[in-house]
């Protein structure tokens, strides 16, 4: 699950840089106001310089340097999100978004979890802890987006197209997931839960669901 990790590194770094830039601009404005006040008191006219070539060049270089640094940060973060050697997924879940809920199908198993999302009937995506899982994301109708805020990751679900990504969740837990693309009337309640359980518990759960499916003839 590199997304949360990468975001946790990049976002604070960029926030600090942004805060410093913001502080510098505010300081420059405050200085201008103070200088102006003193000029007015002493009766000195406004400065007439229209260019400071050396400062302009230095400033331009500094900007280019900051931009280059941010580009490197962005590229390496993007590479971190999608490592070239993704751990081979141990299982696949086909996630299908539809108006207005979710369907989770565990590939190779007769197990499908879904719900209506209405009135709190949210489907639960159960995943094993510590194992790389491939999510195959698609849509049955309009464009939706699969978003788990805890993962710091979202991805659009398109009809007629499958987006694939791999997540590895190190520890058990339960988090809310949401649709993050305007998809129509009930977009606002198109939520689901992501529940991560220990591997043994996951196997038991999967077998129980598969057995139940066999009994009910699905």
């Amino acid at each position: 699950m590199p997304f949360r990790h990468v975001f946790g590194q990049v976002f604070p770094l960029e926030s600090v840089i942004a805060a410093i830039v913001f502080g510098l601009v505010l300081a420059a404005m405050a200085a201008a106001v103070i200088v102006s006040w003193r000029k007015r008191r002493r009766g000195t006219p406004a400065a007439r310089r229209e260019h400071l070539r050396l400062l302009e060049a230095a400033y331009g270089l500094a900007l280019a340097g900051i931009a280059a640094f941010l580009v490197v940060v962005s590229f390496s973060a993007n590479a971190g999100d999608f490592p070239r050697q993704d751990p081979a997924p141990t299982m696949r879940v086909q996630v299908t978004a539809f108006q207005w809920c979710w369907r989770f199908h565990y590939a190779g198993q007769p197990v499908t979890v879904t719900g209506s999302c209405a009135g709190g009937d949210y489907p639960v995506l159960v995943l094993p802890a510590g194992l790389p899982v491939e999510i195959d994301l698609t849509s049955a109708d309009v464009v939706h987006a699969f978003w788990v805020p805890y993962l710091d990751y979202k991805m659009d679900a398109f009809p007629g197209h499958v987006d694939r990504f791999t997540v590895t969740l190190p520890r058990p837990g339960r988090w809310i997931g949401r649709c993050a693309q305007m998809c129509g009337l009930y977009h606002y309640e198109m939520d689901f839960y992501l529940q991560v359980v220990p591997q043994a518990q996951f196997s038991r759960w999967l077998h129980a669901r598969a057995g139940a499916a066999a009994v009910s003839g699905r």
């Binding site: 201008a32 962005s74 999100d81």
Partner: protein
């Protein structure tokens, strides 16, 4: 001083007053005022819809608006603010000011400009109609397919929305084209490209981007039309991706169309009220051009989360925008530094623009990093980001321009005390409304939701944000009140109430039908601040005649500076 012969020669057809007279006028000043006035009405209307949304979201689980109504409201709010309010503010300012600023008697192809206004009004009427139909347009201002196709939005509202967006965009293309044409072909003798005010330069890039990007919106509307006729097309992913790319090829440049003219307003206002010429003028002009060129290549950062975009390339181009944007800020801050500042309402709005837009800009650079975008895109973080750019930035720049040029356009001054109150309420309102939204987004609140559960941790911040929206509403009422009392007091404005720098301050307030005439001629223009040059030459002449050592070289520092400045040209 040479007046342009064309100005004094042709008296032109008589102007008729009244509504009909205005609606058929080919006077760019009237078309400009019509465009700005209509856009302001749309701005208030869409603002009221914003207030309705903030009322709905003030507490969790409210039912002031139904889900369908809410979706219609934010669709109209977004489409209207962008297509019918702030873009026409941008181009309307150009239509009004550009011929004056380049010393032209008229706008190029005035009938085309007027046709542009009519297209825009028809577009506005159609969009409001689309909103008011029972099954109104409710697919957001992006209008993504397949949601906007006839399967998922079967009602007439969506079809009307497509027609309205198309018409309004046509209107803006026509106005942008004639403004650019005026700049390129109708400048008075002596007004070279690098002797135009900064505002005129911002209009050059605004019009270039309008002409380059708005046709893509027209094509995108064609795609929706096709899918409303044959929704089967959307089984293929290519049509959806084509729509998204076409839409954002317009959707990102339009962000700068809604930004540059207001930077231009801020630049003019800052320079005049700092008592000095705009700093780093040439650098700013060239960085504007670079900015416009680069901004045509960043649209893909809206599609990072589509999983079907080249992340690194669009991250690179988006982050590179830092360089020209930073150069523009250098000009703004350099103008302030060493100035002797005055603080009328126009200047206050311009000053607040600088840090407030910066918040929007800096958060925008963060969004140019895919890893950050994955986390916060389509959440309230993004809502906060673009409202800081568009409202706390552009709208503040717009009001700086309104307070600055109002006396020129109407002949009377706006009330300064009400203006200051308007400003204070705007600053409080904007920041209280939009700052909490960053944190709502980081907490995981998605966009486009009519309500949220009480236990999600969004309640307190949403309430604060809604209170802020109320303050913005109050600020707008103060502005309307200001117009009302100022129109009653009618404190007459001189030709140049502020000590302005550009040509329009040399003609009467309001300007005569063809802008300049024998009484108000266009002077010889030697720099981008012709009015200031003229004032300084007059002051120098007075000094020379008043000096007891008349006839000998004057060594007074100010005069020597002035002369050195003049000789440079």
């Amino acid at each position: 001083m040479t007046a342009e012969p064309a100005v004094t020669a042709a008296p032109g057809p008589k102007q008729t007053d009244g509504l009909v007279g205005w609606l058929q006028s080919t006077d760019h000043k009237r078309i400009g005022i019509l465009t700005l006035g209509t856009a302001f009405v749309m701005f208030l209307f869409d603002g009221l819809l914003g207030l309705a949304m903030r009322a709905q979201l003030a507490r969790p689980g409210q039912h002031i608006l139904s889900a369908q109504q809410y979706n219609q409201v934010f669709t109209m709010h977004g489409t209207g603010m962008i297509g019918l309010a702030i873009t026409p503010f941008a181009l309307g300012l150009g239509v009004y000011l550009i011929p004056l600023q380049v010393g032209a008697p008229r706008i190029a192809a005035p009938r085309l400009t007027l046709l542009g206004y009519w297209c825009y009004v028809l577009g506005a009427v159609t969009l409001v109609w689309a909103f008011l139909t029972p099954d109104g347009a409710a697919a957001g201002w992006w209008g993504y397919t397949p949601l906007s196709s006839s399967i998922y939005s079967p009602g007439p509202g969506m079809s009307l929305w497509v027609a309205g967006v198309f018409l309004a965009a046509c209107g803006m293309i026509l106005q942008g084209a004639t403004v650019l044409w005026t700049i390129l072909r109708l400048r008075a003798p002596g007004v070279t490209m690098l002797r135009m005010p900064v505002f005129a330069w911002t209009m050059v890039v605004t019009c270039l981007m309008t002409l380059a990007s708005f046709p893509s919106l027209l094509t995108a509307m064609g795609v929706i039309t096709a899918t409303r006729i044959d929704p089967g097309l959307l089984a293929s992913n290519a049509w959806n991706m084509a729509y998204e790319n076409l839409f954002w090829f317009y959707g990102h440049p339009v962000v700068y169309v809604m930004f540059f003219p207001f930077v231009g307003c801020v630049a003019e206002v800052l320079a005049v009220f700092s008592g000095r010429r705009f700093f780093n003028y040439k650098g700013t002009a060239f960085s504007l051009l670079a900015f416009a060129a680069l901004s045509m290549a960043v649209w893909g950062h809206h599609l990072f989360i589509s999983g079907q975009q080249v992340n690194d390339y669009f991250s690179l181009t988006s982050i590179l925008l830092t360089i020209p944007a930073g150069m523009e800020y250098f000009g703004l801050l350099g103008t302030l530094a060493g100035g002797r500042l005055r603080y009328p309402a126009a200047m206050l709005f311009a000053l607040a623009f600088i840090p407030q837009f910066l918040i929007g800009g800096l958060s925008g650079i963060m969004l140019g990093t895919p890893s950050v975008d994955y986390a916060v895109n389509n959440s309230y973080f993004v809502v906060a980001h673009f409202h800081y750019t568009l409202f706390a930035g552009s709208v503040f720049g717009f009001f700086a321009g309104v307070y600055f040029w109002w006396p020129k356009a109407t002949g009377f001054l706006l009330n300064e005390r009400a203006g200051r109150l308007h400003f204070v309420l705007m600053v409080i309102g904007a920041n209280v409304t939009y700052l909490p939204m960053f944190f709502l987004g980081l907490k995981g609140m998605p966009r486009w939701v009519v309500s949220y559960p009480g236990g999600a941790g969004f309640s307190a911040l949403s309430l604060i944000s809604s209170i802020g929206a109320g303050v913005i509403g109050l600020a707008m009422m103060v502005f309307l009140y200001n117009i009302y009392i100022s129109a009653r007091q009618k404190k007459p404005a001189t030709a140049d109430p502020w000590g302005g720098y550009s040509l329009e301050w040399l003609t009467s307030s309001p300007p005569p039908r063809f802008n300049y005439n024998a009484q108000f001629p266009v002077p010889r223009v030697r720099s981008f601040t012709p009015t200031l040059d003229l004032r300084e030459r007059q002051r120098e002449r007075q000094r020379v005649t008043l000096s007891p050592r008349a006839g000998r070289p004057v060594t007074d520092t100010v005069t020597a500076d002035t002369r050195a400045y003049r000789d440079e040209r």
